[in-house]
Structures are given as structure tokens and as C-alpha cells.
């Protein structure tokens, strides 16, 4: 879409605050869903608006309108809480090289192949002691813009982890999808990792299942 089709920031902020005249709203509603570039820009402006509010940098006359719009909505309040929480994150730790034998790796990576139809083989992953995170690298993932992954404990049929917006990474093994979760969220049992692809139009289709037996060292 041509740049000169883009509305001014001020107009979008009025839209976000819910004070734009209704005749202008519908076109922006449609673009907020159907126009990728516009949707990203709207998210950026909204993040900036919320950040200015939580850091006390929002103009005085906009604060009341902001609070009317955002504090009256559960989604809005959650966005404010997340903005506050992001500012409370501790600084990234300086990268100090650790002697290899001093501690277990923080992330234990394990490559997984999809289950073959009718085959009974299940990969066994032995997790070293002291590992904080486990990363499964799923291979043979087709070519989708995004993926959804569901990890189910097969002994209880309980979903223990789910992510609806993962992307593939290109590497020596071709395209892979990486699933990283806390080691403490795993039990010594067998899990099914179900990978589905999300097409550009948003439709979801199953790709592969990756069974894995987890054992702790």
C-alpha cells in the first residue's frame, strides 16, 4: 500500500483511544485486520501510547481519554500490566564465559524426527542434571509462515505446553521449529509434540507428530 495512503499518527491514536468520528472508524477497522503493514504500525503506536502512560510521559489531556479507553477493558488493563512488567525486567546478564565443567548447560537441545506412520519407535531423551531448559528441534516441518505446537503428556492426555506463533529457522538440517520449555515442567514420561502449520490466510493444518520419551539423568 502506498505510503501516502497511510493515515497520520494523530488520527490512529484517536482511533486507539476510541474518540475518532465513527465515519472514519470502519475503514481503519478493516485495515487493522486485513492490512499487515497497517496492523504492525497500529501495534507499534499502541505500544508507544501505553509505554508513555506507564512512564508518565503521556500528555495530560490524553491521560483521561487513555484511562477511559484502556482501564475499562480487561484487554487494555492487561496491556498496561505487561508494559509495566516489561520495564521491571532485570538487565540482561553480561556474557561471562563459564568453564564447561563448572555447570550443566542451561539449555539442553535434542533433535526430533517425525513419527513414521505405523512405526512404534519413540526417541528417548536423557536430560542431564541441572539443566534449566529443554529445547526440541523439530525437523521436516514443511514451509509455513507460522506454526502452532502442542505438547501433550501421553500418560494423562494433559496438554502441558502450547504455543500458537512459532516460526521456522533455517539451518544445516533444513527448516526446523524449536520448542523451548522449562525442564521443571517435564516429568519422566512420554510426550507427543504435535506440530501444525498456519498458512498466510490463517488456516491451521497438522504437519507432524513427534513422540519423545523423557528420562532424567
Amino acid at each position: 500500500m502506498a505510503r501516502d495512503d497511510q493515515p497520520e499518527d494523530e488520527m490512529l491514536i484517536e482511533y486507539l483511544l476510541g474518540v475518532l468520528p465513527s465515519d472514519a472508524v470502519e475503514q481503519l477497522d478493516e485495515r487493522s485486520i486485513a492490512d499487515d503493514e497497517f496492523a504492525v504500525r497500529l501495534s507499534e503506536l499502541e505500544n508507544d501510547l501505553i509505554d508513555r502512560y506507564v512512564t508518565g510521559r503521556l500528555e495530560k489531556d490524553a491521560v483521561a481519554r487513555f484511562e477511559t479507553r484502556y482501564l475499562s477493558s480487561a484487554v487494555g488493563r492487561r496491556k498496561i500490566q505487561i508494559a509495566e512488567a516489561l520495564r521491571s525486567l532485570p538487565p540482561a546478564e553480561p556474557r561471562v564465559p563459564q568453564p564447561r565443567e563448572a555447570r550443566a548447560p542451561l539449555i539442553f537441545s535434542f533433535g526430533l524426527l517425525p513419527a513414521m506412520r505405523g512405526a512404534g519407535h519413540i526417541a528417548t531423551m536423557v536430560v542431564p542434571r541441572g539443566v534449566e531448559h529443554v529445547r526440541w528441534t523439530l525437523t521436516d516441518v514443511d514451509d509455513c509462515p507460522r506454526y502452532t505446537v502442542v505438547v501433550t503428556d501421553l500418560s494423562t492426555d494433559r496438554v502441558i505446553w502450547q504455543h500458537d506463533d512459532l516460526r521456522a529457522e533455517a539451518g544445516a538440517e533444513g527448516r526446523t521449529v524449536q520448542v523451548t520449555l522449562l525442564a521443571t515442567s517435564l516429568e519422566p514420561c512420554t510426550y507427543a509434540i504435535e506440530l501444525s502449520g498456519i498458512s498466510a490466510s490463517g488456516s491451521v493444518g497438522p504437519i507432524n507428530s513427534y513422540p519423545v520419551r523423557v528420562v532424567f539423568e
Binding site: 477497522d29 487493522s32 482501564l71 475499562s72 484487554v75 516489561l86 520495564r87 538487565p91 540482561a92
Partner: protein, 165 residues
Amino acid sequence: MRRRLVGYFDRKRCIAPDDLADETLTRIARTLDERGVITDMPPGRYCYTVARFVFLEYLRSDQRRQVSVDADPGVGHEGATSGDETPGRRDRLLDALERCMAELTGADRELIVEYYRGARGSTIEHRKRLAAERGMTPNALMIRACRIRGRLEACINHRVAEDGA
């Protein structure tokens, strides 16, 4: 797409934007199942058309407690004092944030932490420096941070809902 739909229904001051977004996606999935492909309009526009139908149905339904923002801009759909500001909920949110941060790649985690660390008043300079350190334009850095934040928000909402269930 789900995040965009939730934002749309939230801006319309619907009571349960998540449910309406899910209803929209369910209808789209059903159409895809029946027809295999949508050819009469671009996919994004089709999503909007379905969302608008869902919204209009919502306006007519019993779910509606307040009118939409278009019809009555001054009215909120929920009280500002619902119970999601309690210390317990805040702890759950911080816990969810920590777990969702752990799911990011190291580079994304470092970027998002540094992106929001800028001292008040010097944010622009701080982010320019961050972008330069990463060989990116400030705009590209902003888009990247926005995408990571969007993923974090979705992950946190999912975790909090899961913990509250």
C-alpha cells in the same frame, strides 16, 4: 490474526473479545473446511468481513451489556475495578512473563530487555544506540521489538488463562 481480531473486538468494547475472536476464526475454519479455499476476496478482508458479522450479531445478542464504542464513545463495557489488579494476579502475570521470556531465543530475550530499559527521557537515543549496535535501522528495531512483545503478550495471556483455569 487472532491478536488483531482480539484488538478489533476490544476497540469495539465487546465484553469478551477473546471469545469473539475465537468465534470468528472458527467460522473461517468452517468455511475453509467446506469450500477448501476462499477465492471471492483476499484472506485478510474475508477475516474482517466475518469479524464484522460476528460483531453485528454480538450487538444484537444478549451478551451485549453496553453499546459499541461507535455508538457511544464515552461508555466503557466493564467497570475499571474488576478484580484483575490483585497482588495474586500480578504475581501470576510476572511469573507468566518470566516463563514466556524463557521461551524466547537468547537474542530476542536480550533485545526486548534492552529495548525497554531506556531511562525516561532518553528512550530515543537509547534505541538508536541499540539499533546501531545490531546493525539495524531504528525502524527495523522497533518492528522487531513490537513483534517480540506481541508474542510475549499472547504467551502471557495464554499462561495466565491456563493458571486461572
